[in-house]
Amino acid sequence: MKMLFPLLALLVAALFAASLLIGPAGLGLGESLAALFRGEGGPVVLVMQEIRLPRAILGLLTGAAFGLAGAAMQGYLRNPLAEPGLIGVSSSAALGAVLALQTGLAASFALALPLAALAGAAGSVLVILLLAGPRGGALALILAGIAISALAAALTSLVLNLSPNPFAAMEIVYWMMGSLADRSMTHVWLAAPFILIGMGALLTLGPGLDALTLGEDAAHSMGVNLGRLRWTLILGTAAAIGASVAVAGAVGFVGLVVPHILRPLVGARPSRLLPAAALGGAAMLLAADIATRLIAPDKDLKLGVLTAIVGTPFFLHLIWRMRRVEA
């Protein structure tokens, strides 16, 4: 499908614009777009530059990161059920954030929470390096990821369990649902470098993942350096997903569903799926974030709740279709 990439890019651009134009402050089209580029600070300029722009940028970046990392992880593990959280980065980032909320660190300065989440993600990478080792294969990586995810989830539960303050517990629960509301340009500046570097690393994996279509032995014989590929995957995913979870919370299903939807449209080639899934992930997350504002403008509907509610039935439909094809 030759038109796929232009169409996806167009869709992302349209959703990005829509994300800028939709919100509780009913601003006119020309007025709001002009405010984006104006220097002085009226209320309209403030709404556009300080509230909607960072939200739209973060939707674009985190969505692209989830989609791309999902496609890369599925390609490496040669399994359509893999998702970026599989190596434990998401749950460890969440644990870092939860600890920051619980200890009150999050309230001390604006970036404390995302920084703690990034520290959690970095910690999980260290444990993976230790467990999956330099010569560890795909199985060692999956098992290490499962162990880290389980431990991080258990520690998160422990924090909630022991939380003396019900309001802190509530805050933690809400944070874990994922959201892009009330993020500032400071969040963008913190997350963007990690996300962009991580995505840049993941985008280099295309040829290696193509060769892995035929298994590790065949890929090795075609000159793929599997050790380097695995490190690039782990570090790229950790940077992109760690930073995304740090600013958006745990948003599930994008990294799982988007590569699934797009795989048939790129002839199932992992190298073509990577950029397509990045665009597709950005489109899905921007659309979901817009939907949270349209469906319940005054209820603060959480992004992660919506992606899961929309993503799960869609996923079930895919499984249903796959089952019919295989039968």
């Binding site: 035929l214 298994g215 075609m222 000159g223 002839g267 080639r269």
Partner: protein, 245 residues
């Protein structure tokens, strides 16, 4: 020219050596059959030579950096494992990876040799097992290396495809390239290979032309079988006929 040199190659699984001190060289123009009963170490020898298994001793291939090795030798693993529903053409073109992905002529040539042109736009995972095996052989051919290492390339193929594949490999040897293929069918090996390597418990017990390697004594000792030999105008024929008690 020597395309592969192994010096005292030893591969261990735990304490036990599964390839035990194998020394050999493979030169241009050879079609070498690697034979031996199950567990003799055929697959481990091929994987060790490529550096896919930790080993002692020296292999001229595993010493090379990844890109240079991929241009020196192609490998066809035993498992027919295709993860994604890509087209036959896309799959065969994967063999061009070591050459930066370029070379449509090599892909066409590989499809030609394996008689796969009609399958070009079919989805590889939707083909039968035997058809997939031919596609995977074509992928290895598209790599256009001087040496091809193939692990049981004809297992599970129908007789026509088996003979055609053996003829393709013999053709590569005739062009001055070399093929080393592990083969269970001793009849096919005797008929088509220019040289046989017989492995037994990890050791190289015989190395030479088929008629010299497939002696009654070795067949009884190594394989536990006896068989019927004949020299025909089409070449040597060997057919196992029974088990030695």
């Amino acid at each position: 020219m020597t395309l592969l040199a192994l010096e005292n190659l030893t591969v261990r699984r735990g304490e036990c050596p599964v390839v035990d001190g194998v020394t050999l060289t493979i030169g241009e123009g050879e079609f070498v059959g690697l034979i031996g009963p199950n567990g003799a170490g055929k697959t481990s020898l091929l994987r060790g030579a490529l550096g896919l298994l930790p080993h002692q001793g020296r292999s001229s291939l595993s010493a090379l950096p990844p890109k240079a090795r991929a241009k020196a030798a192609a490998f066809l693993p035993q498992g027919r494992d295709i993860a994604w529903p890509v087209t036959v053409e896309t799959l065969v073109a994967l063999g061009r990876a070591p050459h930066g992905g370029t070379g449509a002529a090599a892909v066409n040539d590989a499809l030609d040799r394996m008689a796969l042109h009609a399958y070009r736009h079919r989805i590889a995972t939707a083909l039968s097992g035997g058809e997939q095996a031919r596609v995977l052989i074509a992928r290895a051919l598209a790599q256009e290396t001087p040496l091809l290492l193939a692990d049981e390339p004809v297992a599970g193929l129908d007789p026509e495809a088996q003979i055609r594949t053996m003829e393709v490999f013999a053709g590569l040897a005739a062009e001055g390239r070399a093929v080393v293929a592990s083969i269970h069918d001793l009849g096919l090996a005797a008929r088509h290979c220019s040289r046989l390597l017989m492995l037994h418990r990890g050791q190289l017990v015989a190395d030479g032309p088929p008629a010299e390697v497939l002696t009654d004594r070795r067949l009884a000792e190594v394989f536990g079988i006896r068989g019927f030999h004949a020299d025909t105008p089409d070449g040597p024929v060997f057919q196992p006929t029974g088990v030695v008690r």
